[in-house]
Amino acid sequence: MNAAHEPKPVLEVSDLCVAYGKVEALHKVSLRIREGEIVTVIGPNGAGKTTLLSALMGLLPYRGEVAYVGHNLDAHVEVEERVGQGLTLVPEKRELFAEMSVEDNLLLGAFHRYRSGLRDHAQTMEEVFALFPRLKERRTQAAGTLSGGERQMLAMGRALMAKPKLLMLDEPSLGLAPLIIKEIFRIVAELKQTGVSILLVEQNARAALQVADYGYVLETGEVSLEGPSHELADDPRVIETYLGLGGKKTA
């Protein structure tokens, strides 16, 4: 949008390789996310999208360079430290604390800040409740009793409690009804106003490209295509494989 003074990159990944044993799941993936931007990575099942996020979060070992807000993130930097630096992942499986209340789940989202002496979780929780009024209604309910959409909202809300600089969302639309998906993506777009940068991994390419500024197409562990999302949405290759009327989807 404002090419005049370009926002600084939050995350710059170059030649990232991840292997499960001898099988290489990601091969020389490079991507960049700038401040306040929503970047999406689309691609079929098994392309390595979740692997990419797990590696960036420090859950998987990787080779290659990951620069986060200017400094190098070595593969040895632990998950907890990455959380402390403002990286947050909302995993595909949500990983909620099922037997604990919605409120406690949210509170623990701010655990790292609490431990570092930043005790502003009460106010952050109000902000999260403003974004997800449904969570406020359910605040005393156990997370395991929520519906699929509410769980996704809780997972996102919990991640936001950490006040992240970079929020990584893994398939937020997975297993949700169309109306709920719409709602989730509306919130993702709204989050952009708060200044957080978002890396959005999706199979639902249409919705993802609508909300994102820039997109990458990941296929069998490699970036096959990239560009501003409105261009990608018009690209015949993307239309045929990912946006077609559904009949072509082989995943």
């Binding site: 959380v83 995993p91 949500r94 990983e95 099922a98 623990l108 790292h112 609490y114």
Partner: protein, 349 residues
């Protein structure tokens, strides 16, 4: 059947059951957070009791040296790692956090004359004991379990057995083969109807109830307690919130050491404890924890009280079979658990 004997046995059973309940809670906590079946739990009981006995005899307990040596080992490892990664800012915290308390206590105790140490007020002696034994928990976690935190539960169990053997051996070195008793918290007894309650019995019941209440508040009301529960519920989810598995492990073993040492301090005026007495006491707590499926705190605590009562009555009616009866209880419990556990597994997913 004599009512008075019945009551007396019940009182005995409840007292022991309260101790077993505390140990069962510690076992459930450690297992939930770290997946370790913490066999050495009983050694904390023996260490607590015998450390207090040594202090009351005016001697420097060997457990202080254990804490200092473990502390040095952790400082060398963690300090070396911090140096290697150029993270010098963490050095003071590593040294103070792991070695501070043991060194201070070593200086304090060896600085006191034997008579002065023995004459110290009992609450101070107990504080010293806890200060020596409790740091052993986090230090042992760092050295023994943290490097293999991702191993299978079977490997963790085998290592726990090895640690249990090692600690018993060290106990023999530190305290010798003879048994000790410590002074009761207060002398005298309380008469309620036909019952004569020793003050120490009341102390045990009161302290156990208070500790259970404190644990409840800790897990339900504090952020750190909730973080421990979260690690037990969903390790990946907790890590993604910045709750470090290592911190949770150290915290849970610290709590286990605290519970163990306090239990030892509480029972040592009632029974003579030897360097290896902890094992049987811990094992009875373990039976309670198994009744709770190593998952439910209230069921584990109630199960442990049941173990205490069963033990007490069987020691009167069939004293030769006392342990047999208590440990045989585990078989029907396991059968019942395995018949009903299928359902639980499905719920977890």
């Amino acid at each position: 059947m004599d009512l008075q004997i019945l009551l007396l046995l019940g009182q005995d059973g409840l007292t022991n059951g309260a101790i077993y309940a505390l140990l069962a809670l510690a076992l459930v906590l450690v297992f939930a957070v770290t997946r370790v079946i913490f066999l050495p739990q009983g050694e904390f009981v023996a260490y607590g009791a015998l450390t207090l006995a040594a202090i009351q005899a005016g001697k420097l307990p060997g457990t202080v040296w254990l804490a200092v040596i473990l502390g040095i080992a952790v400082v060398l490892i963690d300090g070396g790692l911090a140096l290697k990664s150029g993270n010098l800012k963490r050095l003071p915290r590593i040294v103070l956090g792991n070695l501070g308390l043991p060194l201070v206590l070593l200086g304090l105790i060896s600085g006191l004359e034997a008579e002065a140490l023995a004459a110290l007020a009992l609450p101070l002696q107990i504080l010293l004991t806890l200060g020596i034994v409790v740091p052993l928990g986090p230090l042992l976690y760092r050295l023994v379990f943290q490097p293999i935190a991702e191993a299978s539960s079977l490997v963790l169990l085998i290592v726990a057995v090895a640690l249990h053997m090692t600690l018993i051996g060290l106990g023999l070195v530190f305290f010798g083969a003879e048994g000790f008793r410590t002074q009761p918290f207060s002398d005298g007894a309380l008469e309620i109807g036909p019952l004569l309650l020793q003050h120490q019995t009341l102390w045990i019941l009161f302290a156990s109830a208070a500790l259970i209440a404190v644990l409840y508040v800790l897990f339900e009301r504090t952020v750190y307690g909730k973080a421990l529960r979260a690690t037990a519920l969903n390790r990946t989810g907790a890590r993604l919130m910045g709750i470090s598995t290592t911190m949770a492990g150290k915290l849970s073993l610290g709590l286990a050491a605290f519970i163990g040492a306090l239990s030892g301090v509480l029972v040592s005026p009632m029974t003579t404890l030897y360097y290896d007495s902890g094992f049987l006491i811990g094992l009875k707590g373990f039976v309670g924890a198994i009744i709770g499926g190593l998952a439910s705190y209230p069921v584990a605590a109630l199960g442990a009280v049941l173990v205490g009562l069963l033990e007490s009555y069987s020691s009167f009616y069939a004293s030769a079979f006392k342990e047999v009866i208590v440990f045989t209880l585990i078989i029907p419990v396991l059968v019942w658990r395995s018949l009903t556990s299928h359902h639980v597994e499905e719920e977890e997913e």
